[in-house]
Each structure stands twice: as C-alpha cells, then as structure tokens.
Amino acid sequence: MIPKGIEDRYEVIRILQETAATAVLLVRYKPIGALRILKAIHKAHPDANSILSESNLLQGIKSSQIPTIFEVEDTEEIIYLVEEYVEGISLREYLSGTKLSIEKLLYIAIELCKIVETLHTAGSEPVLYRDMKPEHVFMEGDTVRLIDFGISIKKSESSNAKPLGTKGWAAPEQLKGDYLDERCDVYGVGKIIGFMQINSYAKDDFRIKQIVELATNSDISRRVKSITELKELLEDIQGDRVNDRVGKRHLEKRIAVIGGSHGVGTTRIAISLCRFFNKRKIDCYYKDNEKDTVRKIWMNLKNTKLQKGVLYHESFRGLFEYGEAVENQNPPIGLKVIDCGTNKSIPIGTDVVIYVTSGVPWQQHEEVPEWISNDGVYVISNFSDKISSVLLAKSLNKKVYRYPIVNRLDISKDEENVFSAIFKNERDFIIAKQ
C-alpha cells in the first residue's frame, strides 16, 4: 500500500512492513537525497488517527534523540507521515553481539531516562511513551535514540486510552487498562535496565538489581516515583565510579551490615567496623536503621560528645537521628556503616554488604537471602567454630569470615584482622594495617 502522488518527492527504497491497510517504507527524499521513514495508514483502519496523534504528540518536543517529523499528509484515502530515518541498530541487536560494561550500562540507562524525562516534561502536559522495549531503543554509535511513538498518549488521555503495550515490557496497570501516569514509563525503563544487566558484566551488581526491582515494582505506589528519580539513582552509582577514577574512593560509600537473625551480633560488628575505619583515619559514621543504638550510647556511656548531629565516643562516630524540633544538621561527608538489624532489604545506594550469621546451633537454619551470592556481599559467621564456618562456606559456595569472640567494648586486634581481610578484596577500600 504505497500512497499515490509521492513519487515526485520520494523514492521507495525498501518496504519495511506492509499489511492491507498499513505500510512502513524506507524512502529517499529526492531533493536532498536523505533517507526517511514513511508510515502510511488507510483511513478506514480503526487506528487511522494514530499517525495524526503521533505527529501532534511529538510537535514541540525538542530532542535530538527522538525522530524528527517532516511531513504529515491527509489525502482522500490515506494518511501518511514522513519522519527521520534512525540509523544504527536496536538495543536487542546491539546486546546480541556485545557484553556491556557497567559504565556503558549506566550510560545507556541514564540517556534513556533523559529522553523519557523530555517527554514527561514537554509542553503543557506529560507525554506517556508506553512502548519501551529493546526493539525501540536504537544505538547510533554512542547516541541512544527512542523510536516508534505509535501508542504514546498525553497523560490527560490516559483514562480513555486502550490497554495497548507489549506483554513482558509494559507496566501491569497499562495492560489492564487502569489509570496511567509517568510511572508506566519508569516501569518500561526499569525493564530495559534489567534486560541490559543480564547481558552485562554487572550481572551480579546488587545495586543495579535493586534499582530494577524498585522501578519495576508491580505495586505502582512502591515504584520509583518519577523518571528523574530513577535517573538520579543511576547517577549516584555512576558518580561513585567517577569518584573512583579521581581517587576519592572511600567518600560517600555505604556499607550495610545485615543480620541473618536476632542476636547474631550485627550491631557489635557494625560498631566495630566503624571504629576500624576511624582508627585508620578514614572518616566513618555508624547509622542505625532499625533501632535506637546511637541514642542509647549517648544516654548510657560517659565521655561522649554530640556535635552537628554526630555522637563521638573514642573512635566511634554515630549519626544521631533527631526529630523535627532540632535545628537541621548537614550529614557529614564520609563512609557510612548502616546497621540494618535483621531487615534483609539492602538500603538504596549500598556499595558493600556484610551479612552476619551465627554459628550457634539454634540460629543456624535461617534462610539466606537470594542476593548473598552477589559480588560485594561478604559473609561473617559469628559465635562459630571452624567446622561450622567451613560447612557454611561450602553450602553458600562463598568465603565465610569467622568473627572472633569479643568481651570488651573497644575493637580488638582479632576483629581488625577480619575487617582487613574483607576490605583488602575491595579495590575502593585499600586499607593497610596500622
């Protein structure tokens, strides 16, 4: 189905897709010899207006990463649209021959977020793209581009929009025909990031896994709230890597200490870890996510000092979480050790996880979290003998660090040895013995 009367301007190079009532053609624009895409649809087709709405939607959106629309014609029988031909290959094709580095993965993901951000902030109201999938993300050298706006809509039209989208890629609320907002595209971008992660060297990076989980949560209220927020989460990881290159390795790193169950010594280990870094002149702050540890230390220990929201006691530094009625404190810059108690959700922005388990018989059969095998996750077995540690290491297929028995408040030499052994593996925390 080739529209009549286009021959004087367009030469058909190839028919990319054709049905009885629709056609997508690769054409050459004769006056300047440039390749373009011509999409045509018969007026009798139920989706005939989709071409007009696509051109209306993209009008006024200024982005070099979205195809430019050159012409829309409404003839007696056919409506057709001529748009820029995007060269390059789709992300699916690209990944079939390339394994992504973490830097490249973050780059593509952030670029994609920027494109969607442009759509969400364009004109008088957000445009919802609704069709994110690897076939629609194009790699033109290093430039990431997004194509095919056939089912995109304005946000105000979402209540009447048909439940269109690709199964496995579109957000559940979109496929069900529920109310839609910008978070349907957050879901789509999250799926693309997950797809890229599988085909990357960052396959076991829990930070990216975590972002994917947050972005693709089927419960919309628990999903990342906007594409800008998603972009910032990715930029945080990217920022870490930029800092790595300029030598600020330990700044703003976060170590989460997570206990397998109650009473395994998570708090003790987190506090000792904080002391360990501070003794080595690396500013490190303990933060308690689950309990009131810092407050209790302040109330029960002598010789403590509170300054700018930080509790100081010998080599310990704890972040004091004040309520609203205390003047604002800027969080200090430095390494953060986060005591998560037994909460198995890794806090956002975590770089290293220390999982604490216990060797005592009544605490041994806890279920280990799925992320335990990931890179950057270290296992400490507390109150354990050599045999139980070896057995645990065998069952996890991972090195297990045996924690010494401690009976004093300050950090012992044996504890320091455990932390030294762990952090010598992390290139960002190269710590020499004092």
Binding site: D292, R295, M299, L306, Q307, K308, G309, Y322, G323, E324, A325, V326, E327
Partner: protein, 219 residues
C-alpha cells in the same frame, strides 16, 4: 579492715543507687512546670522539654496545657487528632492537649503510655491532683531581691517542702551575683540546688548546646 569494709559498702550502695536510677529512667516521666508568678517562662520551658523528649530522646510525648485560654493553639493546632475521645493536636511529633478539664487529663495521664509535660497555669487545690501525679516537679521564679519573698511564700503556701526532694527542681530566672547569693539561701531552705533557667531561643528548633541543661532537668 574497717576501711575496706567501708569501701565495699560504699560500692554496694553506689551500685544499688545506679540500679534504682536505671529503673526510674524506664518509668514514664511526668514533668510538670509551675511558675511562682506569671510570665516567668513556664510555657517556653515546657515546649522545650517536650520537644527535647521527643526529638532527642525519641519518646512518645504528650504536652498538657492546663489553661482556659491557650496561646499555643495558633502554633500547634494545624493537625487535629484524638487521644481516646479527647481532642488534641500534633506538631513536630509531640501531641498537645489544650484543656483545663482535670478529670479528662487525669484519665489521659493514667491511660496513655507516654511521657508527659504539664504546663500549669496555676497550682491550686483543683490542679493539685495533677501536680501530685507527676514524678518530676519544676518550680520557676525570679530571685531578684524584690521577688524572693514571693518565691518563699509560694513554697510555704503550697507546702512544697513536704514533697520528695528528689522529685522537685527549683529554677531561678535571672543569673547575677545578687540572685546567686539569694539562691544559696533558697537552696539551704529547700535542701536542693537552685538551677538556672536554660536560655533557649526557639523551643521548636532546639540546638545541641541546650541538650545537657534539658537532660539535667528531667533526670
């Protein structure tokens, strides 16, 4: 030998004392503040204490203003809540009950698992049950030479010396050489130290430098 026994005994007594203090700390605090005369800063101190207890000590705090006409409503009255069937307000995590219904307030103090700060406009026979129900009573007054008599009369008239000395705190509003001398006389009379009123600019935005003084008042 005797000296060693004495030391051992002293150690045991200290341990016992610490244990008692720890248990006391676990009991919900009920602090009330009364002014010897109007405008000595009772409400200012009460708000500071309530905010300190909640925002620094992390306690669940109910502030009670025993007054017919509350000046606080315009500040804390944005969010209405109910405590049982009593109307209250929540602001920066502290719950405010602004009422002079003694029975309702006694009920709240009995029923709710919280720390209380009671701002008492006056101490009289009607409000005395609330005062008696508290385990930390703070009296604020001026010890300027022309005001000191009023402070003594207030203590005598209300029989404050009969209360457990550990549960009473006397505060003076001004600090200078003269008031310090007068304070030492009052300290002898009440058998307790006379503290200075903490200087707090904004009780809704406390500073770390205020924490120690506020902590001392509720210990």
């Amino acid at each position: 030998m005797f000296f060693q026994r004495f030391l051992r005994m002293k150690e045991i007594l200290l341990l016992l004392n610490n244990k008692i203090k720890k248990i006391e700390n676990k009991v919900n605090k009920k602090v009330c503040v009364v002014g010897v005369s109007p405008n000595v800063g009772v409400t200012h101190l009460c708000i500071s204490l309530a905010n300190f207890m909640h925002s620094v000590l992390g306690k669940n705090v109910i502030y009670i203003e025993l007054s017919n006409e509350s000046q606080l409503l315009s500040v804390v009255g944005m969010k209405q809540i109910l405590i049982g069937d009593i109307l209250a307000y929540e602001y920066k995590g502290v719950r405010y009950v602004l009422s002079n219904d003694i029975d309702a307030i006694r009920n709240i103090m009995l029923r709710e698992n919280a720390w209380f700060v009671v701002d008492m406009a006056s101490l009289n026979e009607e409000t005395r049950p609330i005062f008696n129900n508290c385990n930390n009573r703070i009296i604020i007054g001026s010890l300027r030479p022309w005001c000191q008599r009023e402070y003594y009369e207030f203590i005598d008239k209300l029989g404050l010396l009969e209360y457990d000395m550990d549960q009473m705190t006397y505060i003076k509003t001004d600090t200078n050489k003269k008031t310090n001398i007068i304070a030492s006389g009052l300290a002898n009379y009440t058998k307790s130290t006379i503290k200075d009123l903490p200087i707090i600019n904004d009780p809704f935005s406390l500073k770390e430098e205020n924490f120690q003084e506020l902590m001392d008042l509720i210990r």
